[in-house]
């Protein structure tokens, strides 16, 4: 079943230095349960595309539907949870209260809120940290808390904009592994922006390679790796072949020219 469908999307930003074409003729279908990575250099429109899906930006041309609705309607129907580059936890709220933030706005009962907090804290392996303030947690734990916040209400789409970009390699590996387990357990559809080739290949069932000026899709790679992926799958020939194809795609899009 197609969950997200984009049809020849265009988006042009008007800036003081003239107009910038962030997206050009972007068409893509995302199936239910897919883990889709968007990879490409800065300015290729991968974040913009994610924001269009989330109705945080309005396209200037083309159509996009989420769960068969417009992005605006989908947002009001709580179709997706969004995880930003920074954890974006409110520093005056404890971890628990941060996770309750969307639940308060969406009007869940107090008891339901608490049950959901306990459930998602367990999902991201942060039991016992609910009463801590964000600054008392490490960067990786903060990002896990922000994922828990996006999971707290029943959206079946998870949009993640370089969520692990600011973390070191070791923490990032662990979180990638945990994210895969989470995805398998919750059966969500995930859109994931990254500019790390190993991360994209390791996580995804579908890799969307994008390139800049104007932002466009140059290749869509279906991954044939098994869904169960231990970290050392990254040393197998299949993995390396996929990574090679992603790199080729980036090169074709002149991603390495500067």
């Amino acid at each position: 079943m197609t969950v997200i469908s984009a049809n020849s999307l265009d988006l042009t930003f008007q800036t003081n230095d003239g107009s910038v074409q962030a997206l050009s003729n972007v068409s893509l279908d995302i199936e239910k349960g897919d883990f889709v990575s968007f990879i490409g250099p800065s300015g290729c429109g991968k974040t913009t595309f994610l924001r269009v899906i989330a109705a945080l930006e309005q396209p200037t041309g083309g159509t996009v539907s989420v769960n068969g609705m417009t992005p605006d309607e989908a947002r009001k129907a709580r179709a997706y949870g969004y995880v930003f580059q920074a954890a974006g936890l409110y520093p005056w709220r404890t971890i628990e209260k941060n996770i309750k933030l969307p639940l308060e706005i969406m009007g869940y009962t107090a008891k339901d809120q608490q049950d959901r907090v306990n459930h998602v804290l367990q999902l991201v392996d942060l039991e016992g940290f609910g009463k801590k303030f964000p600054w008392q947690l490490s960067g990786g734990m903060q990002q896990r808390a922000s994922i828990a916040r996006a999971l707290a209400f029943d959206a079946d789409i998870l949009l993640m904009d370089e969520p692990f970009g600011a973390l070191d390699e070791i923490v990032r590996d662990r979180l990638n592994e945990e994210l895969l387990k989470l995805w398998a357990r919750t059966e969500k559809t995930i859109g994931f922006v990254t500019h790390s080739i190993p991360e994209a290949v390791y996580l995804s069932t579908k890799i969307v390679v994008m390139s800049p000026r104007p932002g466009r899709i140059t290749d869509v790679i279906e991954s044939d790796l098994p869904r169960e992926r231990p970290l050392d799958i990254r040393d197998t020939p299949e993995f390396l072949a996929l990574a090679h194809r992603v790199r080729e795609g980036l090169r074709e899009g002149h991603a390495y020219d500067e």
């Binding site: 989330a54 945080l56 920074a86 409110y90 709220r93 933030l101 969307p102 308060e104």
Partner: protein, 316 residues
């Protein structure tokens, strides 16, 4: 000497004493320097009167006599610190707070604390009115483009008008509509205290970053929800900084409101009568009482700030 002895932690008492002296010594040093300069200034400014008097009486003064007289004049140009301290003590602890008059127990106007109260009451009322007005204006400015463009210039203009010129007008106008007593004074103090709150809160309400705001947009949060769940909590540190400036401004506003309006009670009235009769010691003691009041008010706000920020987990 064994190693264990050498590394034994210093006794708790010594630690406490050291910590206290670390905190108190710099303050004491600064204060004693100021007091020394003050005494020097008092001697230099007051000696002419003494020398003049001595000359007219044909008396030759030794330095000790000269110095002693400059420190004890009844109406010195600059009262010595101990004179001000004595006046402060005599007009607070040395006077009854209430006294019997015409068969009634009434506040004693000779007691400086009574005047301090007369000033503090409108100050606090004005501070509350001014802060609320400032907060509401800031919320309006942040949420409404027309207000954003139109209110700030007027707010700035309001602060360039000399309050000394406006105060009598306000008092007269309010008197004409039947408002007397605490309210006119507090409106003038509100006039001064709303401004820092507007400036600080506009900055505070706009302090949340793009991610914080986008997050609420993904929840389709309303503007009211954004205000209460994000903008207001994020602006609390700014609020307290503004309130501290605002409450000091409110006190100044009340004192200034007392000056041109012939108030009989209040610290401003004390300043005024002091200057009418050349009672410099009274002027200085009123000034110090005002400074003490301001310090206490700001300190109380500081305590509330610390408690609030601790509860919000923002006191790192």
């Amino acid at each position: 000497m064994s190693v264990a002895e050498a590394q034994a932690p210093p006794c708790a008492f010594c630690m406490a004493m050291r910590r206290i002296s670390m905190a108190v010594l710099p303050v004491l040093t600064v204060v004693s320097v100021i007091v020394a300069i003050w005494y020097g200034g008092a001697y230099l400014m007051n000696r002419w009167v003494t020398l003049d008097t001595a000359q007219r009486q044909g008396v030759e003064l030794t330095f000790n006599e000269l110095f002693a007289d400059t420190m004890a004049q009844e109406r010195p140009r600059l009262p010595a610190p101990h004179q001000v301290a004595a006046e402060l003590w005599n007009t607070t602890a040395g006077e009854e707070l209430f006294r019997e008059r015409r068969g009634e127990l009434r506040p004693n106007p000779r007691n400086l604390l009574f005047h301090a109260y007369q000033t503090l009451a409108p100050t606090l009322l004005g501070f509350v009115i001014g802060s609320l007005a400032g907060l509401l204006l800031a919320i309006g400015i942040v949420h409404n483009r027309a207000m954003d463009l139109s209110v700030m210039p007027w707010a700035i203009a309001s602060q360039t008008i000399p309050i000394l010129a406006v105060a009598p007008i306000v008092i007269v106008v309010l008197n004409a509509v039947g408002l007397t007593g605490v309210v006119p004074k507090s409106l003038i103090s509100a006039y001064l205290s709303f401004f820092p709150v507007v400036v600080g809160m506009v900055k505070g309400l706009r302090s949340p970053g793009a991610i914080d705001l986008d997050l609420l947009r993904t929840y389709s949060a309303s503007r009211t929800e954004t205000l209460f769940k994000l903008r207001l909590p994020a602006s609390v540190p700014f609020l307290f900084a503004s309130l501290k400036v605002g409450i000091a401004a409110a006190l100044v506003g009340t004192i200034v409101a007392e000056l041109p309006t012939g108030a009989r009670f209040g610290l401003g009235a004390r300043l005024l009568t002091g200057s009418y009769y050349g009672q410099t010691i009274q002027i200085w003691s009123a000034l110090f009482m005002a400074a003490i009041c301001a310090a206490i008010l700001v300190a109380i706000l500081g305590l509330i700030e610390r408690a609030t920020l601790r509860r919000m987990g923002l006191n790192r």
